[in-house]
Amino acid sequence: MSKRVGIIVTKTVARVVIPFIQLFALYVIVHGDSGPGGGFQGGVILGASVILYAIIFGAKAGRQWVKQGLTDVFSSIGVLLYAGVGIVAMIVGGKYLEYNVLPIGHDAHIASHYGIFFIEVGVGITVAAVMVTIFFETAQRDKDDLKDRGSGDG
């Protein structure tokens, strides 16, 4: 068993497994409002899929797959989605993050359901993007690309 075989095995397994991991991540995210899990957990799983890819195919390949700009933009967009739900709730006359007044569906229950859904999606996107960012930031050995990033998801 040479080193090379090991690489082939991991690469092949990764190619197969990563889509499933991501699918699972999406499942966890979108079921955040009605079952265990949620945006954070799903986001971590989603991020982990990218990290797994980067570990196996190398940081450079990982960066080619998920560009820096992408993670930067998505970590912002996720928070904006979260905050946006709250603001929409305010605009339609409720309090910040008061889901059941959202103008979706017909009754408060459905509105609340969708409100939480969007929140979870927002959290998921941000967490995934931030996880990936943290990984690449700390993984890079190149001095010039060195970044520090302190914005976490509080």
Binding site: G35, I134, T138, D148, R149, G150, G152, D153, G154
Partner: protein, 125 residues
Amino acid sequence: MVELILGKFNYLIAIALAMIGFYAMIAKSNLIKKIIGMNIFQTAVFLFYISIGKVHGGTAPIVWDKAVLYDNPLPHVLILTAIVVSVSTTAVAFALIIRIQKAFGTIEEDKIIEIKRNGYKGDME
């Protein structure tokens, strides 16, 4: 005595872990080890939180027609937030350590202090 240990073992474990972590944070010279200590310290607090959320005979707090008693879910939610914070802190700490490594060439605190004292001038970039 036995009763105390059995009755409050969750606290004792949390305290022991916290002390271990605290010791590492303060006494270890290696910056990574400090961060490990910090994580142990925080985890001790998380354990403590989760243990106080446990209700005797309660089940997981998912609405379910057969359950009569649920565990208190609030500490879990709080700790989820705290874990996020902890992860972020760790990430920032690692980013700092990497840059310290670039700037000083070491992550041993005593060596960094020595380098500073010897007045090796110049900014890191």
